[in-house]
Symmetry: C2
Subunit: 326 residues, 2 copies
């Protein structure tokens, strides 16, 4: 089994938490991994893990396109090359999101027929399977045909990742009626409403959905452009953070803080981004997982588990088939 290439240098807590996560993934999951990064910085941390040497690190706030173009020995770039060259089965990074996308796109290439890769982010739904939101930020401007491909890819991912038999695909808009929304939404609606539009992914179109539906069972996959998707994702993350913090503050001041907070732990775990396994870049010719910048070692373990599952389930081949047919 090929190892999963983990960018040891990317993320707010790199390399410490990342390498710790890599060790834990090997121990807890029995999945082989290889670290990618500066050997000298990893010497004391790597233990018996292999290292793909990369002398450069793309900063969290660096410009993605120019960084990937000029830093050919960056850990992200080398991780993507390891997948391309058949030395790794997947790549995983908690580093610069744009640079991760650019590295994957430039080194692995696209699946044939894919216009644009998209970031698929699982949004937790208490008591149910997560909703797959895409594009969560790869493409600020989109065309209707790209959104149809996002729908197909998101549906394949929802099937493979969450075992949903016939995923419900919704189009994010500002009203349920087909006449509501931007020109992009209206044109995409017409394409998705054509009979059999999502047959290649074994999915069905349930029409427009609204922001309030994302955290519910109304749809398994919510399709939108990368600008709107990123705003929705960040808005939800920000709101959850503020609300969870406020709830804990309010309860912490009471005599029943202990049992009350304990009762909320399962919910908290459901919402914890470290538990989702990260976002996936769908449409590139390989498995690429984009983890949160704030990833802990637990987030890396979960992301490694998801990467492994997606490889075992042959996600990329299934995406290829859906795009070829769709």
């Amino acid at each position: 089994m090929l190892p999963i290439a983990i960018d040891a240098m990317g993320g707010d807590h790199a390399p410490g938490a990342i390498v710790e996560g890599a060790h834990r993934a090997v121990a807890e999951l029995g999945v082989p991994v290889v670290l990618v990064g500066r050997p000298e910085e990893l010497a004391d941390l790597r233990g018996d893990l292999d290292v793909v040497a990369a002398s450069q690190v793309i900063g969290m706030d660096a410009d993605p396109a120019s960084s990937v173009r000029t830093m050919k020995d960056a850990s992200l770039v080398r991780a993507a090359e390891a997948v391309r060259d058949g030395r790794a089965s997947a790549m995983l990074s908690a580093g610069n999101t744009g640079a991760t996308m650019a590295s994957a796109l430039l080194r692995m290439g696209r699946i044939k027929g894919v216009s644009r890769p998209a970031i698929a982010t699982p949004i937790p739904v208490p008591g149910s399977t997560p909703t797959v939101l895409l594009d969560a930020g790869a493409n600020a401007e989109c065309q209707p045909a790209w959104l149809v491909q996002f729908a197909l890819m998101g549906a394949v991912f929802a099937r493979v990742r969450y075992g949903i038999d016939q995923p419900k695909v919704g189009l994010l808009s500002i009203g349920e009626e087909a006449t509501k929304g931007s020109p992009l939404v209206k044109e995409t609606h017409a394409l998705l409403a054509e009979p059999g539009a999502l047959d290649a992914a074994g999915a069905r179109f349930v029409g427009n959905v609204e922001g309030r539906d994302i955290m519910t069972d109304a749809a398994d996959v919510v399709v939108t452009d990368g600008f709107t998707g990123n705003v929705a994702l960040k808005t939800l993350e920000g709101g959850m953070k503020v609300l969870v913090g406020s709830v804990l503050d309010a309860l912490g001041a009471t005599e029943v803080a202990g049992p009350a907070v304990e009762a909320l732990m399962p919910l908290y775990a459901t919402l914890d981004p470290d538990q989702t396994g990260g976002a996936m870049l769908l449409g590139v010719d390989g498995v690429c997982i984009i983890s949160h910048g704030s990833s802990s070692s637990t987030a890396i373990v979960n992301a490694t588990r998801v990467a492994h599952e997606m490889i075992e389930a042959d996600l990329v081949e299934r995406l290829r088939a859906a795009i070829a047919t769709g």
Copy 2:
């Protein structure tokens, strides 16, 4: 003092909760109101309140433009006419949002120089003043110059409504850098970054903000197009509802449910949309408050209070001055 015209027929709980709210507003605030709607349906509810007769009701899901065009005796239309004709000081409705906008726009007209009115919605920020989000849904497609006007109007509103001395205005995008976002965002950023761009509203531009900043103090006013704004608003509302419900479920099953839920009540009150006083349609030549469809009588009391405050503070004249100078 002119009365505030309350659309008695609009909203999920109309006319009962609306009329109850109107009675409470008179009793609790000492503000005069007039009901607008079908006299026969209001006969048993009106008590000593005056009624402006309107024989038609625009349904919550009716097409706004055609409804307002064809139903000239609709309660929403008559409410807007009452303001236009100097028989009421403001209008307030929990009915069809699009039809409320269309009625206000067609009957009251725009403030001179305003390209498009925008919906300004206060988003609660625990421990601080709300963030004013606009446009929250009036204009699915926007031009950069309109967004600059939204910034000016939102800043004036934040000053008048929340007493913020020099409001911080942020532009909603998917990264803090000026180069991030859609073409609309980039062009608007350039206009807002010009020295003195928001002087007419006594405000300052703080650059791009992200969805995660909406529920924080990062900005007092967040400007965006009506599509993105509506998605962000609904996403936040939906997320809050799911999370609050999940928290109450989890705590309700414990022995400490009583004191724990009690400790959360102040937070719950902060987030309760019935407490915000509703959204405002800024840019029309009169005060127009758009309340939530699910408004209770308490929501109507709060909306009436806000309408009264905005009239006393001469909001429309201040908006006029800012647009004329800006």
